[in-house]
């Protein structure tokens, strides 16, 4: 399911004193099966952008296509159920949406809403809970007895149980400790690799954006600033800094090494391993020159 935005504009609170242009003529393409990260300063329009993909927000101008589903500005009320079945959305702090008496019932909520039978919903719920690594002994307990990290995984299972083709993640690791972060990110990385799901992730973490994505989209003031491979995007350090963004910590470190070597080069390395190799190359290079 390819996703395209054509000249999409979104205005909040039109014709009130609080009118705000949140998206300004955005045109992008997210290919089917890709892992796309969306970065930008708080208030740059990242969240507004992704909420258009499953019809939670409707464009004020422009057109959005998700597979065969088309959303135009100015069109009448539309049933988004079919679209939302295909596009799962994990909100920021998704554990705040849990409400059922038991964990398994909560995970079934999504599939049942989309008209999947009880038996099939339960089956999918169990699969999803296994996928997020919550032991079966928990399934019939109340979700409110869990720790924050466990609740987050239950909420994610609730989205996965619908078996969407596209998953949108709005800062999925906010507030988690390092171990929890790692678990969540590798879960989605795995889903992307194994099931070819399209993943769209809004994040503040440049290293995550660089390490997991095929494409990075940079938003600024409601406008599309940059889009392309992590390499392409993170080599434009000056531009990113101008809009209040950083580069991955590996590159920050390489900058320090390069600086010491008197070089103005930029090296796009995103894992510690790649960066270490680059460090060794730089050191040897300096020696060769001497």
């Amino acid at each position: 399911m390819d996703i395209t935005f054509e000249h999409v504009t979104h205005v909040y609170g039109r014709k009130t004193p609080f009118e705000k242009l949140a998206l300004d003529d955005v045109t992008i393409r997210i290919p089917s099966g890709s892992f796309t990260s969306i970065i930008g300063h708080t208030g740059s329009g990242k969240s507004t952008l992704v909420q258009h993909i499953n019809g939670l927000l409707k464009p004020s101008e422009g057109k959005i296509t998700v597979g065969n589903f088309v959303i135009h500005a100015h069109e009448k009320k539309k049933d988004f159920k079919e679209l939302r079945k295909q596009v799962g959305f994990v909100f920021q702090y998704p554990e705040h949406q849990l409400f059922e008496e038991t964990i398994i019932k909560d995970v079934c909520f999504g599939p049942m809403n989309f008209g999947i039978s009880d038996a099939e919903s339960t089956k999918r719920a169990e699969e999803s809970l296994q996928l997020v690594g919550l032991p079966a002994s928990f399934w019939h307990r109340s979700p409110f007895e869990l720790s924050g990290g466990q609740m987050r995984r239950v909420a994610i299972a609730g989205v996965l149980a619908v078996r969407p083709q596209v998953i949108i993640l709005d800062e999925p690791t906010a507030g988690l400790d390092p171990k929890g972060r790692e678990e969540i990110l590798s879960l989605f990385d795995d889903l992307h690799a194994r099931l070819k799901l399209t993943i769209i992730m809004v994040t503040h973490n440049m290293s995550d954006a660089a390490n997991y994505s095929d494409q990075v989209i940079v938003m600024d003031g409601g406008k599309l600033l940059l889009a392309g491979s992590p390499k392409h995007v993170f080599l434009q350090e000056d531009l990113l800094r101008k809009v209040g963004l950083d580069i991955p910590e590996t590159m920050l470190f390489l900058n320090k090494v390069l600086d010491k070597a008197g070089s103005k080069d930029k090296i796009p390395a995103f894992t510690v391993d790649e960066a270490a190799d680059a460090v060794i190359r730089i050191l040897n290079g300096v020696k060769d020159h001497v």
């Binding site: 507030g175 400790d177 390092p178 929890g180 320090k256 510690v272 460090v279 050191l283």
Partner: protein, 279 residues
């Protein structure tokens, strides 16, 4: 060094049926230092923090703050004035309808006169660079700005200690930077003792001293440079190593003969350079 907090043999559990979440904790805090308490979520570090200003009273052991026991009911309000606490969620600690009302809240509780309040209010707001927002309502502020207001409310009470209970974990990178800079300035210029509860080791390496918590126990204590010599333990309890250490370990595995002292990126770069020029 003058001790400002002394915790001895502290144990705590939420109810009798439940296991202890803090087990036999002993440590001291020196006046003017920056102490980080690290551990993963659920390690007991936040519960420990709440023992330090008497929000939680331990079943066993004692907490002595600036000469007062937290178990002393007469002194509890004085202890809470001496020990300010910034919580995790910026929204859930903002009491006032506006920024100035919120900063004044603590001073009102402690019965300060209106003249003193007005004076300290403007000073505290200037200190956290929120003086332009005195009349703003909380829903118009960013998370980082709200946390700065919380800090102003504490500073206005002229405390000795400020506890940051994961105060940056819900903020974006910019908000995080603002808060850390603000608290660093307070530590440096006003000699405020800082106790920072965090799971972010990158943040913690800048402290004077670290305490490592795991499953309710205090398992390590020391200066960052000493503590990070061996990294296996920190990884085992689910903490993410600071970048310079990850890099140092990988470089060593690739055959670069580095020592195990570098903790900051600058140190690592320097060491690489010395090593390289001596080869």
């Amino acid at each position: 060094m003058e001790k400002i907090i002394e915790v001895s043999d502290l144990s705590y559990r939420y109810s009798e049926e439940q296991p202890y979440v803090l087990k036999n904790i002993n440590f001291t805090v020196n006046k003017g230092e920056w102490l980080s308490i690290v551990g993963h979520n659920g390690s007991g570090k936040s519960t420990l923090a709440k023992c330090l200003n008497g929000l939680i009273l331990p079943q066993r052991g004692t907490v002595n703050v600036g000469g007062f026991m937290t178990s002393d009911e007469e002194k509890i309000w004085e202890i809470r004035r001496l020990v300010g606490m910034v919580f995790q969620n910026p929204d859930n600690q903002f009491v006032g309808a506006t920024v100035q009302d919120d900063v004044a809240f603590g001073m009102e509780n402690h019965g300060l006169s209106r003249e003193i309040m007005a004076e300290r209010l403007s000073e505290a707001l200037r200190l956290v660079r929120m003086d332009q927002f005195a009349k703003s309502e909380p829903h118009r502020l960013s998370g980082g700005q709200k946390q700065r207001v919380a800090i102003a409310g504490i500073v206005a009470l002229q405390p000795l200690i400020i506890i940051m209970d994961e105060s940056t974990s819900m903020l974006d990178p910019e908000g995080r930077k603002e808060i850390i800079q603000t608290v660093r300035a307070l530590n440096r210029d006003r000699h405020l003792t800082v106790i920072s509860i965090t799971h972010d080791l990158e943040e913690a390496i800048h402290s004077d001293r670290l305490l490592v918590m795991n499953d309710g126990e205090l398992i390590r204590e020391g200066k960052p440079h000493d503590l990070f010599k061996s990294t296996a333990l920190l990884r085992k309890i689910g903490l993410d190593l600071p970048f310079a250490i990850k890099m140092r370990n990988v470089l060593r595995a690739k055959g670069v003969p580095l020592s195990d002292t570098a903790l900051f990126q600058e140190e690592l770069v320097d060491e690489l350079w010395t090593l390289h020029s001596s080869m």
